[in-house]
Symmetry: D2
Subunit: 290 residues, 4 copies
Amino acid sequence: MAIVLGDNRYGKAENRLVRVDRDGDEHRITDLTVSVSLSGDMSDTHLTGANDKVLATDTQKNTVFAFARDGIGEIEDFALRLARHFVSTQESIHAARVGIVAHPWERLQVGGRPAHHSFARSGAGTRTTRVTYDGERAWVLGGVEDLTVLNSTGSEFWGFPRDEYTTLVEVKDRILATAVSATWRFSVDEADWADAHETALATLLDAFGGTHSQSLQQTLYAMGQAVLEAVPEIAEIRFSLPNKHHFLVDLEPFGLDNPGEVFYAADRPYGLIEGTVLRDDAPPAGPAWS
Amino acid sequence: MAIVLGDNRYGKAENRLVRVDRDGDEHRITDLTVSVSLSGDMSDTHLTGANDKVLATDTQKNTVFAFARDGIGEIEDFALRLARHFVSTQESIHAARVGIVAHPWERLQVGGRPAHHSFARSGAGTRTTRVTYDGERAWVLGGVEDLTVLNSTGSEFWGFPRDEYTTLVEVKDRILATAVSATWRFSVDEADWADAHETALATLLDAFGGTHSQSLQQTLYAMGQAVLEAVPEIAEIRFSLPNKHHFLVDLEPFGLDNPGEVFYAADRPYGLIEGTVLRDDAPPAGPAWS
Amino acid sequence: MAIVLGDNRYGKAENRLVRVDRDGDEHRITDLTVSVSLSGDMSDTHLTGANDKVLATDTQKNTVFAFARDGIGEIEDFALRLARHFVSTQESIHAARVGIVAHPWERLQVGGRPAHHSFARSGAGTRTTRVTYDGERAWVLGGVEDLTVLNSTGSEFWGFPRDEYTTLVEVKDRILATAVSATWRFSVDEADWADAHETALATLLDAFGGTHSQSLQQTLYAMGQAVLEAVPEIAEIRFSLPNKHHFLVDLEPFGLDNPGEVFYAADRPYGLIEGTVLRDDAPPAGPAWS
Amino acid sequence: MAIVLGDNRYGKAENRLVRVDRDGDEHRITDLTVSVSLSGDMSDTHLTGANDKVLATDTQKNTVFAFARDGIGEIEDFALRLARHFVSTQESIHAARVGIVAHPWERLQVGGRPAHHSFARSGAGTRTTRVTYDGERAWVLGGVEDLTVLNSTGSEFWGFPRDEYTTLVEVKDRILATAVSATWRFSVDEADWADAHETALATLLDAFGGTHSQSLQQTLYAMGQAVLEAVPEIAEIRFSLPNKHHFLVDLEPFGLDNPGEVFYAADRPYGLIEGTVLRDDAPPAGPAWS
């Protein structure tokens, strides 16, 4: 028996990059958190401390900011540029992963008109990407985070098995709320990323609202199916959906009924529903998710 | 010398109340975090443990949910109802403070139309109130939290004194960004709260974007002045404005210029600018802020 | 009616300062978050944008780090040095407030012995201070944060009034848990700060554990009284005590009793008990708490 | 092409369970966050909304609390009991994963002696486990989280490649700090879990402090190797190590040197070093990590 080094990677995480595009009539801003992770021939630094194959994480950070000088474009493309750069310029780096979270901003109204250079952070969903490049090909993920949605009716939960620990009452009308975290895998590495994102997001929200739901699982599948039907370049979509429980408050002790109106929003514990919807002919995922 | 009990208060904090209004063609939701704090003749419980004057915090929680049964209305009114209830029904309670944070939601589009019962959390500013009632009169605060705004130009900072520890370079064009936390004090306890809030918020944002700024302090004052001019019922406004620094990245080592385009968004430390703008004939604040 | 500038202050918040003392046989580390806040003759910057009286917050940050070069000592003394510096060197600055949070570390064992230069963050309470200096005198606060404590018995809550919204059951044995946030005001600006802190903290914990409690208020008072009795330089102590509810789980549906053994630890809502214990001859607090 | 359901699981996350053991001379407390995740024959609920195979997450929660009635024991064993229960009692459940985080508490001193029933939360590392059971065998992970450690010397970083984006200066003496997140895989499902945890943790800390380090990667490997050498039941260990950068402050502008004494602790970005150390004859990991 010997002890050996297994999978490993390293990088600079959470580079907070803001770019102002000033060339048009109006300023535009891009606000990103960029994380880089590299892997390759890294035995030396682990085993002997020799760092001649270790592109410093500080250098990775510098690269992110320097590359932004020429413009960022769509985050999927920016991640692709960065990932390809690291692998193609450093012999010891065999794969690169670049993750980006794009923080949304809205243009303010100033003096009754869209402002030239003033913005407010908006909160309806954060666009994400993760690109993996191994020297030969690239895998592109897109997605959305922090997208909290709620149906105030159109949700049921009943017919579940009852064992000796089951006390839950069946319900034909409840609030269904979740913070959608969805990541989709593209089967391509070139696309109209902005359009694909917009379509996926709108479709997902439409399916959330439009599904009369017997379980959050059913809603998950409906959202996934709708996105795959709407965006041909997406091969697979993965969801992590916390069930943000809203409990009907028992007002009987106070002589009041409660016809589905007053709820207590609970923090913990919460249901957690995770699932994948994919095309049966989806190409292999390779290292896309690892 | 003796040891004595000083100021004290107690209550139930962060009651997470969600109400669904179902009576119209469309559902409406109200999502609040309600905190109650009571004070009065509380020596016994501190000194001897006798609790006959201590309305249980659990009871306070129940009251919040029970009162929601009849509808919530504007959060300022809901806080007033609750505060008055506790003081008028409990002899030992001499003052009540009710703070409410209203989490914003937007109606989703489903099938191309505004949804009947589907919503997404939005993030552009959270409305707040705090009401204090002492058995005779009520003080009402309104406000906004988590309102992150940014000007990508129109901000300077220069002319500051230079001592032996000063290294900061003067700058004629910078990003100005802050997370506005503003609280305003009404001189009245009856008003069109929704309209006052909407006007204050729009005015504040307009002033943020419309002020060519030499310092965040100048912007603070401009926002306060504008709100006071726009909403006669507001006597005073207090701001806490973290200066969310965006540092221009030095790209020279990479042979690149950086004409105000690529920035690093820093976390800590941050400037913190706090200030009050008020009418010179503002009525006394009493316990409104305590 | 005119609109005027009211109270205001500004500064650099959350400077993350770590100092290594290397001169002894063993390294020692001091890990602080230092926040500076200055006030004075600041009308110009608010009203006209002229910054000639505004010592830049960047300069404040530099000063914090430069002052650490000579050693930090007790945090109360470091805060005093900084506060006096800003007021005495800047004519326009009339008052300074310096708040410090000291993050605790423990020395590791390495090879069976106390390590020379290796440490782990520990979590049992964070020491704090806040010093206010107005050019003539200084007010010193000490305190502790993030000190979560629990009694698994010795706590009751009964005898409280019952109104129409009361459903809480009286209980003669419960878990009492809180995250102590305590701030004490010294009547002096010179003391053996380390000893005072250690004594106050140990006394407070002793009183928490040693009090058979009818309410968290009673425990609050007992802790305050004990600290005041143990540390003569402390004139007043203020507590903010969230009641971290632990609810006994009803196991009857599963045919099990639950004799005070299995609890559910709730997040929100929570009771919040705030109170002050002070000497009846405590000197005026001045701006210490403002 | 058809759209199909892929991997999925569901469960109740973050059940906050506190147990008081009262049978001895002294109370003991166990404070856990327990997360359950089940998978199996779940097509129906996703595709048609039929829930007859969906053991409710509420039932899972009840089971966690009910099982605690008989005592918890070591968290690995408690997770094993729960995981086996779900798979063996529910035909449709083919695999269960139970994750537990154990929040550490220390006994207080009261009246100069170890307290009977009083405790304070301590912060030096949180013990974790994750058990996966598939009906035939169980995989057990142990680990530690939130273990922040620092070496104030004994760390270098130099000899790294320099490309056009490299500006980092080589350094022969720096602070090395990280928040250790380590997860180890046992090759057995029965062991003296408490002893294994204690040995792994002490060994890991000893290796952190005892390694003169050329890179955080080298320290990672040293910690992993030491744990594997010390605990024969551990087959593999995975680390996620944020490099918590401490930058030496340049005090030259103030006429001061800085011989490794005054540092600025940065938040973001941070290096992130991830790696695995394992035995070359480690048994297959199966679903242990998935």
